[in-house]
């Protein structure tokens, strides 16, 4: 079931909420938890009930291993148990997600012809597998223990975060489920949750889905080997850049909003990443719970930055390559990870050199910060081209267009607009710039640029949902949010806010006709 579907918004969510609070208010906390677990199973099994067996098996396996690991006795087999547990999870995800990719590559290298039937990726396998690995490691470290399978089921399957994250820790969720307070209905939780959910829905169905139609024709044409003009390539790449941003941001908001309706806070997963001044900052703002997982369970165990700068760079690169592979079984994803690894190495090296030279980030001027932001943004856009393209050849076609290798021709219709600004259009023409009606032929018009500008402003300048909602602590790691007090716009539950949010929600629900899946569902 999708968050942006009629079934979820008009039927499933209201029914689950009503059932949960009826049971909770009646003093049946355990029944309320069971109700949530059942609802989550139903939510997961909506597409393909067969995969319920898979997730239940996975939970039984991990709960058993985790329970053994969580015992206080100092069993010498604990490390072996942990390895078995992690290997079990990796084998599961390896089979479903990477088996065909590995076989294809073996066939390519050895010129063999092994064959495996196409394996359909079970929904959310990347998320529930990683989440359970964190549980095993935390249990091994005696940071958490769980003896109640019902609670464990809710930790893994809680539907607001089941399908596409955020990847939560056992120790973050279980204490919340244990609070008796959450079973009592509170209007403030519903108000905060509804508002965040509505804003997330708006990002998805209005902003992301509407810009998606400009990315698809450009990348499709590139895959077919068609040359792209400068503007087509940039509009295509930027459209995808913002589509992914608003899709993921919208999903994260909806997850946080839906959980909050049940009185549960999820961790922040998305914090205006395009505002980043450098790529290190970007990864602290983009898919924050995945970054946290990769840092805590991969980068740091590999040695992190404790073994010198060379090892740090190797560890960073390895972490990002695996991060790329996590997103999909394909070389363009791995190359995307490699690019980000390279960016991070450059960023750390630059920072180290500048620090040694006596320059600090905090000394930067406004121009310096904006330049850094622009460089970071362009680097991210270039990497997204590989993330979106199906093949390297397709990515190269888009990048060639963006680099102006196919010439730079301005849409003819822009001449008049440019001329309104002190004859700027003619000045550019005299300087050698050419105008053509074909400059944006793939995109049928140049008003796309205005739409992109609007999205640019929303993503790079405006405060994000959690900044507006800051006073109500919508997520439990509020320290990540550095609210900019200049905006002075705070949601406060006043009826005026209700009158502003209602048409947004109404418009979004009436826009659900063309239901589209979230991009992060495929990872």
């Amino acid at each position: 079931m999708l968050f942006n579907s009629y079934e979820f918004i008009l039927v499933f969510l209201p029914l689950v909420l009503i059932g949960f609070y009826l049971l909770g208010n009646g003093g049946f906390g355990r029944a309320a938890i069971s109700w949530l677990v059942l609802a989550s199973f139903f939510f997961y099994g909506w597409w393909n009930p067969a995969y319920l067996i898979l997730i239940v098996t996975s939970m039984l396996f991990n709960f058993t291993i985790g329970s053994w690991l969580g015992r206080d006795d100092d069993n010498r087999y604990r490390k072996l148990l942990l390895i078995i547990g992690i290997l079990g999870n990796l084998l599961l995800i390896g089979y479903y997600k990477y088996a065909n990719f590995i076989i294809d590559n073996v066939n390519y290298i050895t010129e063999s012809n092994y064959h495996l039937e196409k394996i359909i990726l079970p929904l959310a396998i990347s998320f529930f597998t990683f989440q359970q690995i964190t549980y095993l490691v935390d249990a091994y470290r005696h940071e958490t223990k769980e003896y109640n399978f019902l609670h464990y089921c809710l930790f893994v399957t809680f539907f607001p975060q089941l399908i596409a994250g955020p990847i939560v820790h056992h120790k973050e969720m279980l204490p919340q489920f244990a609070q008796k307070d959450i079973y009592r209905f509170k209007h403030v939780n519903l108000a905060v949750g509804l508002t965040i959910f509505a804003l997330g829905l708006f990002k998805k169905v209005v902003l992301a889905d509407n810009i998606a139609v400009y990315a698809s024709p450009v990348f499709s044409a590139a895959e077919q080997g068609q040359s792209l003009t400068f503007f087509e390539a940039w509009v295509g790449a930027l459209s995808y850049t913002f589509q992914l941003y608003f899709d993921f941001s919208g999903y994260s908001d909806m997850a946080i909003g839906a959980a909050r309706m049940f009185g549960i806070r999820l961790p922040l997963n998305f914090n205006s990443p395009y505002k980043s001044l450098n790529i290190i900052d970007f990864w602290r703002r983009w898919h924050m719970t995945l970054s946290r997982f990769l840092r805590d369970y991969l980068y740091i165990p590999l040695g992190g930055s404790r073994k010198g700068s060379y090892r740090r760079h190797v560890n960073l690169m390895a972490t990002m390559l695996i991060g790329g592979l996590w997103h999909g079984a394909g070389w363009p994803f791995i190359f995307w990870g490699f690019l980000h690894g390279t960016y991070l190495v450059i960023n750390h090296t630059w920072r180290s050199v500048m620090t040694k030279a006596g320059f600090y980030d905090s000394d930067s001027t406004w121009i310096g910060r904006r330049t850094a932001q622009l460089i970071t943004f362009i680097a991210v856009v270039v990497a997204w081209v590989f993330f979106r393209a199906e093949t390297f050849a397709g990515a190269q076609q888009v990048l060639a267009g963006m680099a102006g290798l196919n010439g730079v021709t301005v849409p003819a219709s822009a001449l008049g607009t440019l001329n309104k600004v002190m004859g700027f259009g003619d000045m550019l023409a005299n300087a050698g710039l050419t105008y053509s009606a074909d400059a944006m032929v793939l995109l049928q018009g140049d008003n796309r640029i205005i739409q992109l500008l609007l999205l640019f402003i929303i993503a790079l300048i405006m405060p994000n949902t959690h900044e507006y909602m800051e006073k109500f602590k919508p997520v439990f790691d509020m320290q990540s949010i550095q609210y900019n007090a200049r905006y002075k716009i705070n949601w406060n539950g006043h009826w005026v806010w209700a009158l502003l949010i209602t048409p947004v929600a109404f418009f979004c629900i009436l826009s659900l006709g063309n239901v589209s899946e979230f991009l992060y569902f495929q990872f």
Binding site: L10, L194, G493, I501, T502, F506, L510, G513
Partner: protein
């Protein structure tokens, strides 16, 4: 702050808005889930790819005859097909590949018509720009989306608004019995020659129809090529004309009878019985029904009765006759473009 009031405002206004939207759309019924527009009794052709299946499903037990075609065939009155209870499944912009998909869908849903009438457009022999448009439910062989999902959309609300304001997207509409009509205010056809030098020809068109025929193995097929204005026929290049005759003749070996109503005639050389040279009046379509019922050919020709050479000769002769009468000078006009 009073969060209770906040929640009540949002939830009550949202519910009121959604219920109102649903009620308006059900009453105006722009997608024909129920009995059509109850207010003005006119039904516009908004999305016939969905509205035609919607209406068909409601009454499918009754039909033993189907009409497949594009918007040109929507004007063929299904009730005039004698001896059958016919359903006109034609929809705007229909292409052969789409009829195929719809036929499979109908077949999978148990349709077993005794007669199928296929209306073929001359443009079916060329590649028409634009994607093949087959709705998800047709491809998935499932029922059309439930009404409340489609009626909780801005698109449907906008369609209802247009029905209410009588702003039709097309010069034709469906009456309260779902018979297609043409507005009195439809545009006046201004004939002119077209530059068709860039037209891309579609190869192996007969194969698609052979596949279509194979879906309904027990049905009797009647096919006809829809009428088109003489000026449009005169605009065809020599290459296109040759391809047209070859394709039509190949199709005639699959369907007996195949009538060709595009042959220049008194009807298609007039301009007061069509609003665009492709969509002809209900009266002219009624004449087509008569031909289909009786097999008489006072209008159009029956291709199967002729050799390919005779077919080409008769057609070309008719074209030349009307070109002379109407003083259509193909070469000079096309070259001016």
């Amino acid at each position: 702050m009073n969060y209770k009031a906040y929640n009540y405002i949002i939830i009550s206004l949202l519910l009121a808005g959604l219920v109102s939207t649903l009620a308006i759309n059900i009453y105006m019924d722009p997608l024909w889930y129920f009995d059509g527009n109850k207010l003005t009794k006119q039904n516009f052709a908004f999305n016939e790819r969905l509205s035609k299946p919607n209406r068909y499903i409601k009454t499918s037990d009754n039909y033993d005859c189907l009409i497949l075609g594009s918007s040109r065939a929507t004007l063929l009155n299904e009730s005039l097909i004698e001896g059958y209870n016919c359903y006109n499944f034609a929809f705007s912009g229909g292409k052969t590949e789409e009829y195929l998909a719809y036929s499979k869908w109908l077949n999978n849903r148990g349709a077993s018509p005794r007669r199928i009438i296929i209306a073929i457009d001359d443009r079916d022999f060329t590649i028409v720009p634009g994607p093949i448009n087959i709705p998800d439910f047709i491809q998935a062989n499932s029922a059309p989306p439930v009404f409340w999902k489609n009626y909780l959309t801005l698109g449907s609300l906008n369609m209802s608004r247009r029905l209410l304001a009588n702003i039709s997207p097309l010069p034709r509409y469906y009456d309260d019995e779902f018979y297609c009509r043409i507005f009195d205010t439809a545009p006046v056809y201004k004939p002119e020659l077209e530059d068709r030098s860039q037209v891309v020809l579609k190869e192996n068109i007969a194969e698609l129809y052979r596949e279509l025929k194979g879906i309904f193995k027990n049905s009797e097929f009647i096919a006809y090529i829809t009428p088109v204005s003489t000026w449009k026929v005169a605009s065809r290049t020599e290459r296109e004309s040759k391809h047209y005759f070859q394709s039509a003749y190949a199709i005639s070996t699959l369907f007996n009878p195949l009538y060709d109503f595009s042959i220049p005639s008194d009807r298609t050389s007039k301009t007061d019985n069509t609003y665009d040279g492709d969509h002809y009046s209900v009266e002219l379509n009624n004449e087509i029904s008569t031909v289909l019922n009786n097999g008489t050919t006072g209008f159009g020709i029956k291709v199967n009765d002729l050799s390919e050479r005779d077919y080409i000769n008769i057609y070309t002769k008719a074209l030349n006759k009307y070109k002379a009468e109407l003083m259509i000078d193909t070469v000079s006009v096309v070259s001016e473009k």
